[in-house]
Every structure is written in structure tokens, then in C-alpha cells.
């Protein structure tokens, strides 16, 4: 049985791949077809709905409520989300240093120039 984290990941991969919104049932079938690490085969619709509502709570998934069954779509693209992740990793927010320890912290323009000269690039 896949963990919730793995299911969330598989679900987001599906939603990021297609531009269309999909119902929970369609998503369940797609996961079953795929049958990869997330093991969608034995998945109940309720599990799919649980995963989707968790993702909705995290503002990753948007639910279209005007017709039943509700349809779900990704809020941002994968690229946008990666950009946000990189922003967190590279950002200069005050407590950033305490959240994660970077190999090289933020580098000023003059420093970057000096480093390039150092490398002879």
C-alpha cells in the first residue's frame, strides 16, 4: 500500500500532465492504468477523494464545484511549483538560514563576478 505522500505525488503528476480538469473516478482509473510506485490498482474512490482534499487544503488542487461529480485541476504548473521551491531554497528571508542550511548562501553581484573570474570563465 502506497503512503499518502506517495499518492499525493502520483496524483499531482497526473494533474500536471493534463490541462483538463478530471473527476476523482477518472483519476482513480488513470492511477490504476499506471500501476507504478503509487499502486493505484486497489485504490478506493474514497482514498482518491481523501488525497484530493488534502491537496486542496495545501492549495495545490482546485475543485470545480458547479457540476457533479466535482472536477479537479492543478492550481499551478509543475514549472511554477518548482520555481517556488527554488525560491524557497535560494531566498534570503531572515529565518531561511535556520530552515535549511545551504552549501553557498546568497551571493552578491560583485561576489558572483569575483567567483567567475576565479574560475576563469
Amino acid at each position: 500500500m502506497a503512503t499518502l505522500g506517495e499518492l499525493e505525488r502520483a496524483m499531482m503528476d497526473l494533474l500536471w500532465e493534463s490541462d483538463e480538469a478530471a473527476t476523482a473516478n477518472e483519476l482513480r482509473e488513470k492511477l490504476a492504468q499506471r500501476g507504478d510506485s503509487a499502486d493505484g490498482k486497489g485504490l478506493a474512490v474514497t482514498t482518491v477523494l481523501t488525497v484530493l482534499s488534502r491537496l486542496e487544503k495545501k492549495s495545490l488542487v482546485q475543485r470545480e464545484r458547479d457540476i457533479r461529480p466535482h472536477r479537479y485541476r492543478a492550481v499551478t504548473t509543475r514549472a511554477e511549483h518548482t520555481a517556488e521551491l527554488m525560491h524557497e531554497a535560494l531566498g534570503t528571508a531572515n529565518d531561511r538560514e535556520a530552515v535549511l542550511a545551504r552549501f553557498v548562501g546568497s551571493v552578491s553581484d560583485t561576489e558572483a563576478e569575483m567567483l567567475r573570474r576565479l574560475l576563469g570563465a
Binding site: 505522500g5 499525493e8 505525488r9 499531482m12 495545501k58 495545490l60 509543475r78 511549483h81 518548482t82 517556488e84 521551491l85 527554488m86 524557497e88 531554497a89 535560494l90 531572515n94 529565518d95 531561511r96 538560514e97 535556520a98 530552515v99 535549511l100 542550511a101 545551504r102 552549501f103 553557498v104 548562501g105 551571493v107 552578491s108 560583485t110 561576489e111 558572483a112 569575483m114 567567483l115 567567475r116 573570474r117 576565479l118 574560475l119 576563469g120 570563465a121
Partner: protein, 332 residues
């Protein structure tokens, strides 16, 4: 008791301003970062202790000859309803200030901890969706992005090192090993706890010179400690190259470049020229330039006896306010 409160106040002021300014400008911490780290912790702890202690002993002065007597007197007033006539308005004010400051420090420490944990949790959630485990290194995640980036996300057994595939493409095997050893040293030496404590100190007393200087210095010192650890695994020039490549986000077209002739003669790194940068002098944070110049022009560590002297000084710094609080009679 009276003298003790003045002595504590004097200590608090000295530790809040001149001492951190002097220490942050000193050159020796780069030679023995561990010793300097211990000293910074002693300064922060002793500073907080004497700040609160000064107000507490001043306020309790009419109630007893030492801290325990005084607190007992205070308890009798607050709990048993004994007459409070001995306490003047100034004393009540000092006592309230001491309690507020103590509560403020503890509360900020917890709040900062909560913020950091929430930040890590959020970040871990994003990583769960966007990264994949590295094929050849355990506890390492790879994110797909061309920008070279490496960091570690502490979290007990769930601690991970995160690399971008841009970084993997740019670094050679040895350079990558330098990065990984550096990051693992952060995790193994629990540097996140130090960062937490000093981030909280800064958040609690942002207007105090000591909190800003201490946080900056501690950030630099942990990088030095992790660099020293990495130097145990890879040679100096490999680490320098790794820092320069990740910092600038570029890799020289081939392996030539200025560093190569130097790498061939690692005994003479002092000849390395271009590190005279604005910002490497004075009270400005050293940053990446300072870190590189430390690697390029290695200094011998402090002599043993000097390291011991600093460690003894740290213990003394903590012992003095504690003694003044508990046994002010010693001063008479």
C-alpha cells in the same frame, strides 16, 4: 544584593555592546571556529542571564539578602498576602520588567522553533512532490532545475540533503563529494540548533547590536566548521572550486581556468591574487568571499593554550552572573 544588581547590569551592558563588536571584528575565530562558537554561546547566555538577573536582584533587594530569600519574600507577598509595604514602585517595576523579559525570551524561542518547523514541513511537502531520491547516495533528494543548489533540511531521522540536477551536471565527482561532506557535517554537528537559538535571540532583541552580530558570526562559523570537515575528505582546491561554481552558477568551459595551475601546486595557495574585495574588510559580513579567502590562505589554528583560555573565559562568563545571582554576599 544591591551591589550584585549593579554588577549584573554592568555585565549585561558590556556583553550587549562592546564585547560582541570586538569579537565580530577579531580575526582569530576563522582559525578556531569551534572555540569562537563556544564563546558566542557563552556571551549570549550570560548576557540574557545578567539582563534579567540585574532587574530581578534590584527588585528583590528589600525582601532578602540573596535570590532565594528574595523570591521567598515575593512568594509570601503574592501567595500568602503578606504586606508589600517594603516594596517601592521602582522595585515592582523592575520585577515586572524582569519577568516580562524572561517570558519574552522563552516565548520567542518557542515561536521561532515553531516557525522553523513549519517552514521545514512546508518545504518537505514541496520536495515530496517535486524531487526524487538520488540513485547513488542515501538520504539525498534531487530536484530538477538547471540552477546549481545544494542544501540540507534537518529533521532528525528524516534529515535529507537536497541537490539540483544543475549542480550534478556542473560538478565533478570530487567536487560533489566536497558538497556532500560539507552538508552532512551541518547535520551531524546539529548546526540547526545553533541557528535556531541565535535566530530566536535576534528575533527577541533585534535592536541589540549583540543579537545581529552574533547571528552573523554564528552563520559564518558553522560554514567554517563544515568546510573544515569537508577538507578531511577532499583537497582544498576541490572545495574552493565547488564553492566558486555553486556560488557563481557557472562552470568554466573546460577544466582550465585560473585555478588549475594553482591546484597543481597546492602548497603555495597564498599567491592566489583576486580576493581583495570590498566587504571583506571591517564589520561587513564576510560572506562567500571571506569563506574562500579563508580556504585559499589557510592560517594555523590557535595555539592550544589560547583555545583553552577562551574556553575558560566562556565558563567564567557563565559562572559570574550565576554566582552574583545566588550568592551576592561574596561581593561584600
Amino acid at each position: 544584593m544591591f551591589w550584585a544588581s549593579y554588577a549584573l547590569a554592568a555585565l549585561a551592558i558590556v556583553l550587549a555592546w562592546p564585547v560582541p563588536v570586538i569579537l565580530s571584528r577579531a580575526k582569530w575565530p576563522a582559525r578556531s571556529p569551534f572555540t569562537a562558537m563556544v564563546l558566542w554561546q557563552a556571551i549570549a547566555l550570560a548576557g540574557g542571564l545578567s539582563m534579567i538577573g540585574a532587574m530581578l536582584t534590584w527588585g528583590l533587594e528589600p525582601l532578602g539578602n540573596n535570590l532565594l530569600d528574595g523570591l521567598d519574600g515575593l512568594r509570601r507577598i503574592l501567595v500568602d498576602g503578606a504586606p508589600a509595604s517594603t516594596l517601592g514602585l521602582v522595585h515592582v517595576f523592575a520585577l515586572s520588567a524582569a519577568m516580562l523579559l524572561g517570558a519574552h525570551l522563552v516565548f520567542t524561542l518557542l515561536l521561532t522553533y515553531y516557525r522553523i518547523l513549519r517552514g521545514r514541513h512546508r518545504h518537505r511537502d514541496m520536495l515530496n512532490l517535486l524531487s526524487s531520491p538520488s540513485a547513488d547516495t542515501p538520504a539525498t533528494l534531487v530536484i530538477q532545475h538547471p540552477t546549481p543548489v545544494a542544501y540540507c533540511l534537518p529533521g532528525g531521522a528524516r534529515s535529507v540533503t537536497v541537490l539540483s540536477d544543475g549542480l550534478l551536471n556542473m560538478l565533478s565527482k570530487e567536487e560533489l563529494s566536497a558538497v556532500l561532506t560539507h552538508e552532512r557535517a551541518h547535520l551531524a554537528q546539529h548546526h540547526h540548533l545553533l541557528l535556531w537559538a541565535f535566530a530566536a535571540w535576534r528575533a527577541a532583541l533585534p535592536w541589540l547590536p549583540t543579537s545581529l552580530l552574533a547571528q552573523r558570526s554564528v552563520n559564518e562559523l558553522i560554514e567554517m566548521l563544515a568546510d573544515d570537515e569537508a577538507l578531511g575528505e577532499v583537497d582544498r582546491m576541490t572545495l574552493v572550486r565547488a564553492v566558486a561554481i555553486v556560488g557563481s552558477g557557472t562552470r568554466p568551459a573546460d577544466t582550465s581556468g585560473v585555478l588549475k595551475p594553482l591546484a597543481a601546486q597546492p602548497d603555495r595557495p597564498r599567491e592566489y591574487p583576486p580576493l581583495t574585495l570590498p566587504g571583506a574588510e571591517g564589520s561587513e559580513p564576510l560572506g562567500t568571499a571571506g569563506r574562500l579567502s579563508r580556504l585559499l590562505t589557510p592560517q594555523p589554528p590557535l595555539p592550544r593554550w589560547q583555545q583553552w583560555a577562551v574556553l575558560c573565559l566562556s565558563i567564567l562568563l557563565l559562572a559570574v552572573p550565576t554566582t552574583l545571582l545566588i550568592a551576592p554576599g561574596l561581593l561584600d
